[in-house]
Protein backbone atom coordinates (compact mmCIF):
# COMPACT_ATOMS: atom_id res chain seq x y z
CA UNK A 1 0.00 0.00 0.00
CA UNK A 2 1.29 3.41 -1.04
CA UNK A 3 1.56 5.77 1.90
CA UNK A 4 1.18 9.41 0.79
CA UNK A 5 4.23 11.65 1.13
CA UNK A 6 2.04 14.46 2.40
CA UNK A 7 -1.17 14.22 4.35
CA UNK A 8 -3.02 17.20 5.79
CA UNK A 9 -5.74 16.33 8.28
CA UNK A 10 -8.21 19.02 9.30
CA UNK A 11 -5.55 21.75 9.17
CA UNK A 12 -6.53 25.04 10.76
CA UNK A 13 -4.29 28.09 10.92
CA UNK A 14 -5.36 31.33 12.49
CA UNK A 15 -3.20 34.36 13.07
CA UNK A 16 -3.77 36.43 16.18
CA UNK A 17 -4.25 40.08 15.25
CA UNK A 18 -4.35 41.50 18.73
CA UNK A 19 -7.18 42.21 21.19
CA UNK A 20 -7.99 38.50 21.34
CA UNK A 21 -9.09 38.50 17.68
CA UNK A 22 -7.62 36.32 14.99
CA UNK A 23 -7.95 35.78 11.26
CA UNK A 24 -8.44 32.26 9.99
CA UNK A 25 -6.02 31.69 7.09
CA UNK A 26 -6.77 27.98 6.76
CA UNK A 27 -10.10 26.42 7.72
CA UNK A 28 -10.18 22.63 8.03
CA UNK A 29 -8.06 21.61 5.09
CA UNK A 30 -7.74 17.92 4.21
CA UNK A 31 -5.75 16.42 1.35
CA UNK A 32 -2.97 14.04 0.52
CA UNK A 33 -0.18 14.11 -2.04
CA UNK A 34 1.70 11.01 -3.14
CA UNK A 35 5.36 10.81 -3.83
CA UNK A 36 6.14 11.74 -7.43
CA UNK A 37 3.15 14.01 -7.99
CA UNK A 38 3.38 17.45 -9.62
CA UNK A 39 0.74 19.67 -8.02
CA UNK A 40 -0.20 23.31 -8.54
CA UNK A 41 -1.98 25.32 -5.92
CA UNK A 42 -4.05 28.24 -7.18
CA UNK A 43 -6.27 30.75 -5.53
CA UNK A 44 -6.86 34.46 -5.13
CA UNK A 45 -4.49 36.61 -3.16
CA UNK A 46 -4.94 36.18 0.58
CA UNK A 47 -6.65 32.82 0.23
CA UNK A 48 -4.06 31.04 2.40
CA UNK A 49 -1.72 29.50 -0.18
CA UNK A 50 1.50 30.72 1.45
CA UNK A 51 0.21 29.80 4.86
CA UNK A 52 -0.37 26.27 3.62
CA UNK A 53 3.06 26.07 1.95
CA UNK A 54 4.79 27.21 5.15
CA UNK A 55 3.13 24.43 7.10
CA UNK A 56 3.91 21.87 4.39
CA UNK A 57 7.55 23.04 4.51
CA UNK A 58 7.75 22.69 8.30
CA UNK A 59 8.53 26.39 8.60
CA UNK A 60 5.35 26.96 10.57
CA UNK A 61 2.94 24.84 12.57
CA UNK A 62 -0.82 24.53 12.26
CA UNK A 63 -3.03 25.94 14.99
CA UNK A 64 -5.02 22.68 15.06
CA UNK A 65 -5.07 19.58 12.93
CA UNK A 66 -2.26 17.34 11.82
CA UNK A 67 0.30 17.43 9.11
CA UNK A 68 2.03 14.17 8.29
CA UNK A 69 5.20 14.37 6.23
CA UNK A 70 6.52 11.01 5.10
CA UNK A 71 4.35 9.43 7.78
CA UNK A 72 5.66 11.58 10.62
CA UNK A 73 3.40 13.96 12.53
CA UNK A 74 5.25 17.25 12.21
CA UNK A 75 3.52 18.61 15.32
CA UNK A 76 5.35 16.05 17.44
CA UNK A 77 8.81 16.78 16.12
CA UNK A 78 11.42 18.92 17.84
CA UNK A 79 12.81 22.09 16.28
CA UNK A 80 16.00 20.26 15.38
CA UNK A 81 14.13 17.34 13.84
CA UNK A 82 12.12 19.80 11.73
CA UNK A 83 15.38 21.51 10.71
CA UNK A 84 16.73 18.14 9.62
CA UNK A 85 13.56 17.50 7.57
CA UNK A 86 13.89 20.89 5.87
CA UNK A 87 17.51 20.14 5.20
CA UNK A 88 17.21 16.65 3.72
CA UNK A 89 13.66 16.01 2.61
CA UNK A 90 12.50 19.43 1.40
CA UNK A 91 13.82 22.00 -1.03
CA UNK A 92 12.36 25.51 -1.05
CA UNK A 93 12.02 27.88 -3.99
CA UNK A 94 10.68 31.30 -3.05
CA UNK A 95 9.19 34.11 -5.08
CA UNK A 96 11.94 36.48 -3.87
CA UNK A 97 14.72 33.86 -4.44
CA UNK A 98 16.01 34.30 -0.87
CA UNK A 99 19.67 33.89 -1.71
CA UNK A 100 22.23 35.22 0.76
CA UNK A 101 23.46 38.41 -0.92
CA UNK A 102 26.99 38.44 0.52
CA UNK A 103 27.80 34.90 -0.50
CA UNK A 104 28.90 33.68 -3.89
CA UNK A 105 26.52 31.59 -5.95
CA UNK A 106 28.61 28.53 -5.15
CA UNK A 107 28.54 29.22 -1.40
CA UNK A 108 24.78 29.77 -1.56
CA UNK A 109 24.20 26.43 -3.22
CA UNK A 110 26.68 24.67 -0.91
CA UNK A 111 25.11 25.94 2.31
CA UNK A 112 22.46 23.18 2.75
CA UNK A 113 25.26 20.62 2.40
CA UNK A 114 27.25 22.32 5.15
CA UNK A 115 24.17 22.18 7.37
CA UNK A 116 23.88 18.50 6.48
CA UNK A 117 27.33 17.99 8.01
CA UNK A 118 29.56 17.87 4.94
CA UNK A 119 32.87 19.68 4.91
CA UNK A 120 33.44 22.70 2.67
CA UNK A 121 35.49 21.09 -0.12
CA UNK A 122 33.02 18.24 -0.58
CA UNK A 123 29.99 20.53 -0.45
CA UNK A 124 31.62 22.89 -2.94
CA UNK A 125 32.25 19.99 -5.27
CA UNK A 126 28.63 18.90 -5.16
CA UNK A 127 27.34 22.47 -5.38
CA UNK A 128 29.45 23.07 -8.49
CA UNK A 129 27.97 19.94 -10.07
CA UNK A 130 24.48 21.17 -9.15
CA UNK A 131 25.13 24.52 -10.76
CA UNK A 132 26.30 22.77 -13.92
CA UNK A 133 23.01 20.89 -14.05
CA UNK A 134 20.95 24.10 -14.07
CA UNK A 135 23.34 25.57 -16.65
CA UNK A 136 25.06 28.13 -14.39
CA UNK A 137 28.43 26.47 -13.89
CA UNK A 138 30.26 29.51 -15.19
CA UNK A 139 28.70 31.88 -12.64
CA UNK A 140 29.86 30.07 -9.51
CA UNK A 141 32.06 32.94 -8.30
CA UNK A 142 29.46 35.69 -8.87
CA UNK A 143 27.22 37.15 -6.23
CA UNK A 144 23.42 37.00 -6.49
CA UNK A 145 22.97 40.69 -7.37
CA UNK A 146 25.18 40.22 -10.43
CA UNK A 147 22.65 37.79 -11.91
CA UNK A 148 19.31 38.26 -13.68
CA UNK A 149 16.09 37.22 -11.92
CA UNK A 150 15.82 34.05 -13.95
CA UNK A 151 19.41 33.12 -13.18
CA UNK A 152 18.90 33.78 -9.49
CA UNK A 153 15.84 31.54 -9.47
CA UNK A 154 17.88 28.79 -11.12
CA UNK A 155 20.50 29.20 -8.39
CA UNK A 156 17.72 28.89 -5.80
CA UNK A 157 16.54 25.72 -7.55
CA UNK A 158 20.08 24.35 -7.58
CA UNK A 159 20.24 25.07 -3.84
CA UNK A 160 16.87 23.36 -3.29
CA UNK A 161 18.10 20.29 -5.19
CA UNK A 162 21.59 20.02 -3.79
CA UNK A 163 20.67 17.72 -0.89
CA UNK A 164 18.59 15.53 -3.21
CA UNK A 165 15.25 16.16 -1.51
CA UNK A 166 12.11 14.17 -2.24
CA UNK A 167 9.90 17.24 -2.16
CA UNK A 168 10.22 20.70 -3.69
CA UNK A 169 7.96 23.48 -2.51
CA UNK A 170 7.80 26.56 -4.71
CA UNK A 171 5.71 29.54 -3.60
CA UNK A 172 5.06 31.67 -6.69
CA UNK A 173 8.50 30.89 -8.11
CA UNK A 174 7.75 32.79 -11.32
CA UNK A 175 6.06 35.76 -9.64
CA UNK A 176 9.07 38.01 -10.25
CA UNK A 177 9.98 36.68 -13.69
CA UNK A 178 8.91 37.49 -17.25
CA UNK A 179 6.77 34.94 -19.08
CA UNK A 180 9.58 33.41 -21.16
CA UNK A 181 11.81 32.89 -18.14
CA UNK A 182 8.82 31.57 -16.20
CA UNK A 183 8.22 29.08 -18.96
CA UNK A 184 11.87 27.89 -18.71
CA UNK A 185 11.70 27.53 -14.94
CA UNK A 186 8.48 25.51 -15.16
CA UNK A 187 10.01 23.26 -17.82
CA UNK A 188 12.94 22.65 -15.50
CA UNK A 189 10.49 21.66 -12.76
CA UNK A 190 8.74 19.34 -15.19
CA UNK A 191 12.01 17.61 -16.01
CA UNK A 192 12.90 17.20 -12.35
CA UNK A 193 9.53 15.64 -11.70
CA UNK A 194 9.68 13.29 -14.68
CA UNK A 195 13.35 12.34 -14.71
CA UNK A 196 13.99 12.13 -10.98
CA UNK A 197 10.55 11.56 -9.55
CA UNK A 198 10.77 14.54 -7.24
CA UNK A 199 7.45 15.57 -5.77
CA UNK A 200 6.64 19.16 -6.74
CA UNK A 201 4.17 21.59 -5.27
CA UNK A 202 3.99 24.95 -7.02
CA UNK A 203 1.85 27.88 -5.91
CA UNK A 204 0.81 30.26 -8.68
CA UNK A 205 -2.12 32.36 -9.75
CA UNK A 206 -1.50 32.03 -13.46
CA UNK A 207 -3.37 29.22 -15.19
CA UNK A 208 -0.58 28.90 -17.78
CA UNK A 209 1.89 28.16 -15.05
CA UNK A 210 -0.51 25.80 -13.32
CA UNK A 211 -0.89 23.80 -16.56
CA UNK A 212 2.67 22.49 -16.20
CA UNK A 213 1.43 20.38 -13.29
CA UNK A 214 -0.85 17.38 -13.54
CA UNK A 215 -2.97 18.09 -10.51
CA UNK A 216 -4.43 21.37 -9.30
CA UNK A 217 -5.64 22.29 -5.84
CA UNK A 218 -7.83 25.37 -5.82
CA UNK A 219 -7.87 27.28 -2.56
CA UNK A 220 -10.47 29.92 -1.76
CA UNK A 221 -10.80 31.66 1.57
CA UNK A 222 -8.70 29.15 3.44
CA UNK A 223 -10.60 26.17 2.12
CA UNK A 224 -10.10 23.74 -0.75
CA UNK A 225 -12.57 24.67 -3.45
CA UNK A 226 -11.39 22.22 -6.05
CA UNK A 227 -8.91 19.38 -6.38
CA UNK A 228 -8.23 17.24 -9.43
CA UNK A 229 -6.74 17.16 -12.90
CA UNK A 230 -5.56 20.63 -13.91
CA UNK A 231 -7.90 21.25 -16.84
CA UNK A 232 -11.05 20.06 -15.08
CA UNK A 233 -10.41 22.19 -12.04
CA UNK A 234 -9.57 25.20 -14.24
CA UNK A 235 -12.87 24.76 -16.13
CA UNK A 236 -14.87 24.55 -12.95
CA UNK A 237 -13.11 27.68 -11.64
CA UNK A 238 -13.79 29.63 -14.80
CA UNK A 239 -17.51 28.95 -14.65
Amino acid sequence: MNRPLIRAVDLVKSYPIGAGESVAALRHVDFAIDAGEFVSIMGPSGSGKSTLMNILGCLDTATTGHYFLNGQDSGRLSADALAALRNRLIGFVFQGFNLLPRKTILDNVALPLLYAGLNRPESHRRAAAGLERVGLGSLARQRPNQLSGGQQQRVAIARALVNEPRLILADEPTGNLDSRTSEDIMKLFGQLNEARGITLIVVTHEPDIARHARRLIHVVDGMIAGDGAVESVLQRTAS
Binding site: G57, L59, A79, A83, R86, R88, R102, P112, L114, L118
Partner: protein, 407 residues
Amino acid sequence: MIVREILGEAGQSMGANRLRTGLTMLGMIIGVGAVVLMLAIGQGAQYMVSESIASMGSNLFIVLSGSSTSGGLRTGSGTAPTLTLKDAEAIEELPDVEAVAPVMPNNAPLIHGASNWSTMVAGTTPSYFAARDWSFVSGEGFTENDVRSATRVVVLGQRVVQNLFGDEDPVGTTIRIKNSPFLVLGVLAPKGQSLDGRDQDDTALVPVTTAQRQLFGDQFPGMVRFMMIKARTRESMPWAEQGIRDLLRSRHRLRPGQEDDFTVRNLTALAQTAAGTTRAMSMMLGSIASVSLLVGGIGIMNIMLVSVTERTREIGIRMAIGARRRDILLQFLFEALMISLLGSLIGALVGFFGAFAVSRIVGMTVVVTVWSVLLAFLVAASVGIFFGFYPARKAAGLRPIEALRYQ
Protein backbone atom coordinates in the same frame (compact mmCIF):
# COMPACT_ATOMS: atom_id res chain seq x y z
CA MET B 1 27.13 21.63 10.73
CA ILE B 2 30.73 20.82 11.46
CA VAL B 3 32.13 23.25 14.01
CA ARG B 4 34.99 24.22 11.72
CA GLU B 5 32.49 25.22 9.02
CA ILE B 6 30.44 27.24 11.51
CA LEU B 7 33.64 29.07 12.32
CA GLY B 8 34.06 29.64 8.62
CA GLU B 9 30.54 31.09 8.35
CA ALA B 10 31.25 33.38 11.33
CA GLY B 11 34.50 34.49 9.74
CA GLN B 12 32.79 35.14 6.42
CA SER B 13 30.13 37.37 7.92
CA MET B 14 32.77 39.22 9.95
CA GLY B 15 34.69 39.84 6.75
CA ALA B 16 31.54 40.85 4.89
CA ASN B 17 30.97 43.86 7.14
CA ARG B 18 34.44 45.13 7.81
CA LEU B 19 33.52 48.57 9.08
CA ARG B 20 31.14 47.26 11.69
CA THR B 21 33.53 44.49 12.70
CA GLY B 22 36.37 47.00 12.92
CA LEU B 23 34.43 49.44 15.07
CA THR B 24 33.33 46.72 17.46
CA MET B 25 36.86 45.46 17.61
CA LEU B 26 38.07 48.96 18.37
CA GLY B 27 36.17 48.83 21.65
CA MET B 28 38.01 45.65 22.61
CA ILE B 29 41.34 46.98 21.34
CA ILE B 30 41.05 50.06 23.51
CA GLY B 31 39.86 48.05 26.50
CA VAL B 32 42.56 45.42 26.40
CA GLY B 33 45.20 47.95 25.34
CA ALA B 34 44.32 50.13 28.32
CA VAL B 35 44.44 47.21 30.74
CA VAL B 36 47.81 46.00 29.48
CA LEU B 37 49.24 49.53 29.46
CA MET B 38 47.93 50.42 32.91
CA LEU B 39 49.15 47.14 34.37
CA ALA B 40 52.53 47.78 32.76
CA ILE B 41 52.75 51.25 34.27
CA GLY B 42 51.54 50.06 37.65
CA GLN B 43 53.91 47.12 37.74
CA GLY B 44 56.69 49.37 36.51
CA ALA B 45 56.10 51.68 39.46
CA GLN B 46 56.03 48.71 41.82
CA TYR B 47 59.24 47.42 40.33
CA MET B 48 60.91 50.82 40.74
CA VAL B 49 59.83 51.05 44.36
CA SER B 50 60.98 47.56 45.21
CA GLU B 51 64.32 48.21 43.49
CA SER B 52 64.73 51.41 45.48
CA ILE B 53 63.83 49.61 48.67
CA ALA B 54 66.29 46.84 47.93
CA SER B 55 69.00 49.39 47.14
CA MET B 56 68.32 51.43 50.26
CA GLY B 57 69.65 48.81 52.67
CA SER B 58 67.64 47.00 55.31
CA ASN B 59 66.48 47.91 58.83
CA LEU B 60 67.45 51.49 58.25
CA PHE B 61 66.86 54.73 60.16
CA ILE B 62 67.84 58.18 59.17
CA VAL B 63 68.41 60.72 61.93
CA LEU B 64 68.30 64.33 60.77
CA SER B 65 69.34 67.53 62.44
CA GLY B 66 66.37 69.71 63.31
CA SER B 67 62.97 68.85 64.70
CA SER B 68 59.97 67.64 62.82
CA THR B 69 56.87 69.74 63.26
CA SER B 70 53.33 69.19 62.16
CA GLY B 71 54.13 71.25 59.06
CA GLY B 72 56.95 68.98 58.07
CA LEU B 73 60.66 68.95 58.54
CA ARG B 74 62.51 72.09 59.58
CA THR B 75 65.91 71.70 58.01
CA GLY B 76 67.72 73.54 55.25
CA SER B 77 70.72 75.72 54.73
CA GLY B 78 69.85 78.20 57.45
CA THR B 79 69.62 75.69 60.23
CA ALA B 80 72.71 74.79 62.14
CA PRO B 81 73.24 71.03 62.46
CA THR B 82 72.64 69.66 65.92
CA LEU B 83 74.10 66.17 65.48
CA THR B 84 77.74 65.54 66.19
CA LEU B 85 80.27 62.86 65.40
CA LYS B 86 80.31 62.11 69.11
CA ASP B 87 76.56 61.44 68.97
CA ALA B 88 77.24 58.93 66.22
CA GLU B 89 79.89 57.19 68.24
CA ALA B 90 77.56 57.01 71.26
CA ILE B 91 74.71 55.59 69.20
CA GLU B 92 76.99 52.90 67.80
CA GLU B 93 77.31 51.58 71.37
CA LEU B 94 73.54 50.91 71.65
CA PRO B 95 72.81 47.15 71.78
CA ASP B 96 70.20 47.14 68.99
CA VAL B 97 72.30 49.18 66.59
CA GLU B 98 74.58 47.49 64.10
CA ALA B 99 76.13 50.42 62.25
CA VAL B 100 76.02 54.20 62.35
CA ALA B 101 77.19 56.40 59.50
CA PRO B 102 77.31 60.14 60.06
CA VAL B 103 76.89 62.08 56.81
CA MET B 104 78.04 65.59 56.00
CA PRO B 105 76.94 66.28 52.40
CA ASN B 106 77.74 69.21 50.16
CA ASN B 107 77.85 69.95 46.49
CA ALA B 108 81.27 70.27 44.94
CA PRO B 109 82.83 70.17 41.47
CA LEU B 110 84.99 67.15 40.57
CA ILE B 111 87.64 67.45 37.91
CA HIS B 112 89.57 64.77 36.07
CA GLY B 113 91.71 65.90 33.17
CA ALA B 114 89.44 67.88 30.89
CA SER B 115 86.17 66.54 32.33
CA ASN B 116 84.36 68.01 35.23
CA TRP B 117 81.19 67.03 37.03
CA SER B 118 79.40 68.57 39.95
CA THR B 119 77.93 66.13 42.44
CA MET B 120 77.01 65.59 46.05
CA VAL B 121 80.20 64.88 47.96
CA ALA B 122 79.35 63.25 51.28
CA GLY B 123 81.72 63.01 54.19
CA THR B 124 81.04 59.82 56.14
CA THR B 125 82.62 56.82 57.85
CA PRO B 126 83.25 53.24 56.66
CA SER B 127 80.06 52.24 58.51
CA TYR B 128 78.16 53.88 55.66
CA PHE B 129 78.97 50.99 53.31
CA ALA B 130 77.64 48.52 55.87
CA ALA B 131 74.55 50.58 56.72
CA ARG B 132 73.59 50.92 53.07
CA ASP B 133 74.64 47.36 52.09
CA TRP B 134 76.75 48.99 49.41
CA SER B 135 79.44 46.97 47.70
CA PHE B 136 82.24 47.88 45.31
CA VAL B 137 82.62 46.95 41.66
CA SER B 138 86.25 48.03 41.73
CA GLY B 139 88.77 48.90 44.45
CA GLU B 140 87.61 49.31 48.04
CA GLY B 141 86.29 51.80 50.58
CA PHE B 142 88.22 54.01 52.97
CA THR B 143 88.98 52.87 56.52
CA GLU B 144 88.80 54.16 60.09
CA ASN B 145 92.45 55.09 59.61
CA ASP B 146 91.55 57.36 56.72
CA VAL B 147 88.89 59.00 58.92
CA ARG B 148 91.33 59.43 61.79
CA SER B 149 94.00 61.02 59.64
CA ALA B 150 91.60 62.84 57.31
CA THR B 151 93.30 61.52 54.20
CA ARG B 152 92.31 62.81 50.79
CA VAL B 153 90.74 59.66 49.38
CA VAL B 154 87.41 59.29 47.59
CA VAL B 155 84.97 56.58 46.59
CA LEU B 156 82.93 57.30 43.44
CA GLY B 157 79.39 56.38 42.40
CA GLN B 158 78.66 54.99 38.94
CA ARG B 159 77.26 58.21 37.49
CA VAL B 160 80.33 60.18 38.51
CA VAL B 161 82.64 57.57 36.99
CA GLN B 162 80.66 57.63 33.75
CA ASN B 163 80.92 61.39 33.53
CA LEU B 164 84.56 61.75 34.50
CA PHE B 165 86.15 58.54 33.20
CA GLY B 166 83.80 56.99 30.67
CA ASP B 167 84.76 53.30 30.42
CA GLU B 168 88.11 53.67 32.19
CA ASP B 169 88.70 52.19 35.66
CA PRO B 170 89.35 55.24 37.89
CA VAL B 171 90.86 53.31 40.82
CA GLY B 172 94.35 54.62 41.54
CA THR B 173 93.95 57.87 39.63
CA THR B 174 93.85 61.26 41.26
CA ILE B 175 90.97 63.67 40.75
CA ARG B 176 90.47 67.19 42.04
CA ILE B 177 87.62 68.09 44.36
CA LYS B 178 87.34 71.83 44.98
CA ASN B 179 90.88 71.98 43.60
CA SER B 180 92.38 69.57 46.15
CA PRO B 181 93.80 66.29 44.82
CA PHE B 182 92.00 63.11 45.96
CA LEU B 183 93.06 59.52 45.33
CA VAL B 184 90.25 57.33 43.99
CA LEU B 185 90.04 54.22 46.18
CA GLY B 186 87.01 52.48 44.81
CA VAL B 187 83.91 52.50 42.66
CA LEU B 188 80.52 51.76 44.21
CA ALA B 189 78.10 49.23 42.73
CA PRO B 190 75.13 50.81 40.90
CA LYS B 191 71.98 51.40 43.00
CA GLY B 192 69.67 53.38 40.71
CA GLN B 193 66.92 55.67 41.92
CA SER B 194 66.05 56.26 45.53
CA LEU B 195 62.44 56.26 46.71
CA ASP B 196 62.31 60.05 46.42
CA GLY B 197 63.60 59.87 42.86
CA ARG B 198 67.21 60.91 43.33
CA ASP B 199 69.99 59.20 41.41
CA GLN B 200 71.86 57.39 44.16
CA ASP B 201 74.81 56.72 41.87
CA ASP B 202 75.48 60.42 41.44
CA THR B 203 77.64 60.71 44.54
CA ALA B 204 81.18 60.75 45.87
CA LEU B 205 82.12 59.65 49.40
CA VAL B 206 85.08 60.96 51.39
CA PRO B 207 86.09 60.50 55.04
CA VAL B 208 83.92 62.73 57.19
CA THR B 209 86.94 64.42 58.76
CA THR B 210 88.39 65.23 55.36
CA ALA B 211 85.09 66.77 54.34
CA GLN B 212 84.94 68.91 57.42
CA ARG B 213 88.53 70.06 57.56
CA GLN B 214 89.59 70.27 53.94
CA LEU B 215 86.53 70.59 51.74
CA PHE B 216 83.69 72.46 53.32
CA GLY B 217 85.51 74.42 55.99
CA ASP B 218 85.17 74.23 59.72
CA GLN B 219 81.90 76.18 59.91
CA PHE B 220 80.39 73.57 62.23
CA PRO B 221 83.27 71.58 63.68
CA GLY B 222 82.37 67.98 64.53
CA MET B 223 78.82 68.42 63.25
CA VAL B 224 76.96 66.23 60.78
CA ARG B 225 73.82 66.92 58.74
CA PHE B 226 72.35 63.43 59.23
CA MET B 227 73.17 59.84 60.14
CA MET B 228 72.21 56.55 58.60
CA ILE B 229 71.66 53.92 61.28
CA LYS B 230 71.19 50.22 60.70
CA ALA B 231 69.40 48.19 63.36
CA ARG B 232 70.49 44.61 64.05
CA THR B 233 67.21 43.03 62.99
CA ARG B 234 63.82 44.01 61.69
CA GLU B 235 62.30 43.10 65.04
CA SER B 236 64.71 45.25 67.01
CA MET B 237 63.85 48.41 65.07
CA PRO B 238 61.34 49.82 67.62
CA TRP B 239 63.85 49.27 70.46
CA ALA B 240 66.63 50.82 68.43
CA GLU B 241 64.46 53.85 67.65
CA GLN B 242 63.58 54.35 71.31
CA GLY B 243 67.23 53.93 72.30
CA ILE B 244 68.43 56.48 69.74
CA ARG B 245 65.82 59.02 70.82
CA ASP B 246 66.53 58.64 74.56
CA LEU B 247 70.26 58.78 74.00
CA LEU B 248 70.16 61.88 71.81
CA ARG B 249 67.78 63.68 74.19
CA SER B 250 70.07 63.08 77.14
CA ARG B 251 73.18 63.95 75.15
CA HIS B 252 71.57 67.16 73.92
CA ARG B 253 70.37 67.91 77.47
CA LEU B 254 66.75 68.32 76.48
CA ARG B 255 64.40 68.76 79.41
CA PRO B 256 61.15 66.74 79.51
CA GLY B 257 58.51 68.57 77.44
CA GLN B 258 61.13 70.20 75.28
CA GLU B 259 60.94 69.43 71.57
CA ASP B 260 63.47 67.06 69.95
CA ASP B 261 66.20 68.94 68.05
CA PHE B 262 66.56 65.95 65.73
CA THR B 263 64.25 63.72 63.73
CA VAL B 264 64.38 59.94 63.64
CA ARG B 265 62.76 58.41 60.61
CA ASN B 266 62.25 54.71 60.06
CA LEU B 267 63.16 54.40 56.37
CA THR B 268 62.19 50.77 56.20
CA ALA B 269 58.68 51.55 57.43
CA LEU B 270 58.44 54.46 54.99
CA ALA B 271 59.49 52.15 52.21
CA GLN B 272 56.81 49.65 53.16
CA THR B 273 54.24 52.42 53.03
CA ALA B 274 55.50 53.52 49.66
CA ALA B 275 55.28 49.96 48.38
CA GLY B 276 51.74 49.67 49.68
CA THR B 277 50.73 52.96 48.06
CA THR B 278 52.21 51.92 44.76
CA ARG B 279 50.46 48.59 44.89
CA ALA B 280 47.15 50.33 45.57
CA MET B 281 47.77 52.79 42.76
CA SER B 282 48.59 50.04 40.32
CA MET B 283 45.45 48.12 41.26
CA MET B 284 43.42 51.26 40.80
CA LEU B 285 44.89 51.84 37.35
CA GLY B 286 44.09 48.25 36.45
CA SER B 287 40.51 48.47 37.63
CA ILE B 288 39.87 51.75 35.84
CA ALA B 289 41.17 50.15 32.66
CA SER B 290 38.95 47.12 33.25
CA VAL B 291 35.94 49.38 33.01
CA SER B 292 36.87 50.15 29.43
CA LEU B 293 37.09 46.42 28.84
CA LEU B 294 33.55 46.12 30.13
CA VAL B 295 32.47 48.98 27.89
CA GLY B 296 34.10 47.17 24.97
CA GLY B 297 32.13 44.06 25.89
CA ILE B 298 28.87 45.96 25.99
CA GLY B 299 29.83 47.37 22.60
CA ILE B 300 30.07 43.84 21.28
CA MET B 301 26.67 42.95 22.68
CA ASN B 302 25.20 46.11 21.20
CA ILE B 303 26.57 45.43 17.74
CA MET B 304 25.66 41.76 17.89
CA LEU B 305 22.08 42.65 18.82
CA VAL B 306 21.88 45.08 15.91
CA SER B 307 23.46 42.44 13.73
CA VAL B 308 20.90 39.82 14.75
CA THR B 309 18.05 42.18 13.94
CA GLU B 310 19.63 43.24 10.66
CA ARG B 311 20.24 39.66 9.66
CA THR B 312 16.92 38.22 10.78
CA ARG B 313 16.02 37.37 7.20
CA GLU B 314 19.38 35.72 6.64
CA ILE B 315 18.78 33.65 9.77
CA GLY B 316 15.35 32.71 8.39
CA ILE B 317 16.88 31.59 5.10
CA ARG B 318 19.51 29.55 6.92
CA MET B 319 16.81 27.89 9.01
CA ALA B 320 14.69 27.18 5.93
CA ILE B 321 17.54 25.26 4.33
CA GLY B 322 18.24 23.25 7.44
CA ALA B 323 20.22 25.22 10.04
CA ARG B 324 19.59 23.90 13.51
CA ARG B 325 19.43 26.18 16.55
CA ARG B 326 22.90 25.12 17.61
CA ASP B 327 24.28 26.12 14.21
CA ILE B 328 22.86 29.63 14.46
CA LEU B 329 23.82 30.00 18.13
CA LEU B 330 27.40 28.96 17.51
CA GLN B 331 27.73 31.12 14.42
CA PHE B 332 26.84 34.28 16.32
CA LEU B 333 28.76 33.23 19.41
CA PHE B 334 31.86 32.52 17.35
CA GLU B 335 31.47 35.85 15.66
CA ALA B 336 31.43 37.66 19.00
CA LEU B 337 34.28 35.52 20.22
CA MET B 338 36.40 36.13 17.14
CA ILE B 339 35.82 39.87 17.38
CA SER B 340 36.77 39.90 21.04
CA LEU B 341 39.74 37.57 20.60
CA LEU B 342 41.11 39.37 17.59
CA GLY B 343 40.37 42.71 19.24
CA SER B 344 42.14 41.68 22.41
CA LEU B 345 45.07 40.27 20.50
CA ILE B 346 45.52 43.58 18.71
CA GLY B 347 44.77 45.39 21.97
CA ALA B 348 47.45 43.40 23.78
CA LEU B 349 49.94 44.34 21.07
CA VAL B 350 48.86 47.98 21.22
CA GLY B 351 49.20 47.95 25.01
CA PHE B 352 52.55 46.21 24.76
CA PHE B 353 54.05 48.67 22.29
CA GLY B 354 52.21 51.55 23.94
CA ALA B 355 53.97 50.65 27.18
CA PHE B 356 57.34 50.84 25.47
CA ALA B 357 56.38 54.10 23.79
CA VAL B 358 55.47 55.48 27.22
CA SER B 359 58.76 54.36 28.68
CA ARG B 360 60.62 55.90 25.73
CA ILE B 361 58.77 59.19 25.60
CA VAL B 362 57.96 59.84 29.26
CA GLY B 363 60.91 57.91 30.64
CA MET B 364 58.64 55.90 32.92
CA THR B 365 59.63 52.40 33.92
CA VAL B 366 57.14 49.87 32.58
CA VAL B 367 56.96 46.16 33.20
CA VAL B 368 54.91 44.01 30.81
CA THR B 369 54.46 40.52 32.18
CA VAL B 370 53.12 37.53 30.33
CA TRP B 371 50.57 37.26 33.11
CA SER B 372 49.12 40.71 32.61
CA VAL B 373 48.74 40.11 28.88
CA LEU B 374 47.27 36.68 29.46
CA LEU B 375 44.89 38.04 32.07
CA ALA B 376 43.64 40.82 29.81
CA PHE B 377 43.29 38.32 26.99
CA LEU B 378 41.30 35.80 29.05
CA VAL B 379 39.06 38.46 30.51
CA ALA B 380 38.38 39.77 27.01
CA ALA B 381 37.55 36.30 25.74
CA SER B 382 35.11 35.76 28.60
CA VAL B 383 33.63 39.18 27.93
CA GLY B 384 33.12 38.12 24.32
CA ILE B 385 31.36 34.89 25.30
CA PHE B 386 29.34 36.57 28.02
CA PHE B 387 28.13 39.49 25.93
CA GLY B 388 27.90 37.46 22.74
CA PHE B 389 25.71 34.81 24.30
CA TYR B 390 22.52 36.79 24.70
CA PRO B 391 22.37 38.03 21.09
CA ALA B 392 23.35 34.58 19.82
CA ARG B 393 20.59 32.94 21.83
CA LYS B 394 18.15 35.51 20.54
CA ALA B 395 19.14 34.64 16.98
CA ALA B 396 18.90 30.91 17.57
CA GLY B 397 15.51 31.25 19.26
CA LEU B 398 13.86 32.92 16.25
CA ARG B 399 10.99 31.01 14.67
CA PRO B 400 11.86 30.11 11.08
CA ILE B 401 8.76 31.55 9.46
CA GLU B 402 8.91 34.81 11.40
CA ALA B 403 12.58 35.27 10.60
CA LEU B 404 11.92 34.52 6.95
CA ARG B 405 9.04 37.00 6.71
CA TYR B 406 11.01 39.79 8.45
CA GLN B 407 11.42 42.78 6.17
